[in-house]
Symmetry: C2
Subunit: 154 residues, 2 copies
């Protein structure tokens, strides 16, 4: 399927523009014996099953497939012991890119990150004033890490 | 997706009928930290991504999705470090069931098993004379186990 090139940043909440029409995301993980990530996501009315390789810098092999939402919920409840990371995702276009702003819930309440997907590692992009420190590659911000080490425990 | 109810048997090769039109299967695994199995399979021209829960007796939660063959090959090569279990599968109808006879290759050469999928745990079925000892639930016959502990090492 290919390589995902994504950069992740913290957000200055006081400068954040109004965000509308967010999509609720609930995701669980099959814990692996390596850095490979097996993620099961419910995003709105669609389920996804995703395999991700170890991230090398800002690039990461990613294979994502749509699956029935009912399957995704059942897999999370059974094979992932019901443990999830929950967030609302807002899309916010800036120039020729779309920022994804994730506002986390539950034990990760208070954490807000903004991600931008790029076509190449060195692709330039406009950074709005509410986008702060880059945290790309910092493992504690990996959603898979937020499952067992949520923001509330930092 | 549901529950797979399957029973697995050894085979008397000397009595095995002629098998035709087998399909070559190559499959790798993302190693997990639990008994959950994450399998990537190339079967003929189709790829599959499958999650399986721990088997309880002869039943097992199974979620299987078709994915592009090219993706499956790439995932096996990268996320599974190229390690595979290889076999040829033959389908052989007996009465109102279809036996799947798996003839293994490579380091599992010499191992032949026959599987039958049932609609219920207590469903009756006809056992042909070439079907021998049952090995359902014996972990060393799990394909995921044959990857790291192949038949040649038994």
């Amino acid at each position: 399927m290919g390589i995902e090139i994504e950069r992740k940043f913290l957000v200055d909440v006081s400068l954040l523009p109004e965000l509308v029409a967010g999509t609720y995301i609930s995701q669980g993980y099959v814990e692996t014996a390596s850095s490979t990530v097996v993620r099961i996501r419910v995003k709105g009315n669609i389920g996804y099953l995703t395999l991700k390789g170890e991230s090398t810098g800002i690039a990461c092999a990613e294979y994502e497939y749509e699956i029935p939402k009912a399957d995704a919920k059942e897999i999370i409840a059974t094979l992932c012991a019901g443990k999830t990371v929950e967030k609302t995702r807002y899309e916010y276009p800036v120039a020729n890119h779309t920022w994804e702003v994730d506002i986390f819930h539950g034990e990760n309440q208070g954490l807000i990150v903004a991600e931008i997907e790029l076509g190449a590692e060195n692709e330039e992009f406009l950074k709005p004033d509410w986008v702060m420190e880059e945290v790309t590659g910092q493992t504690r911000y990996f959603n898979s890490q937020l499952l067992n080490h949520p923001y509330a425990t930092w």
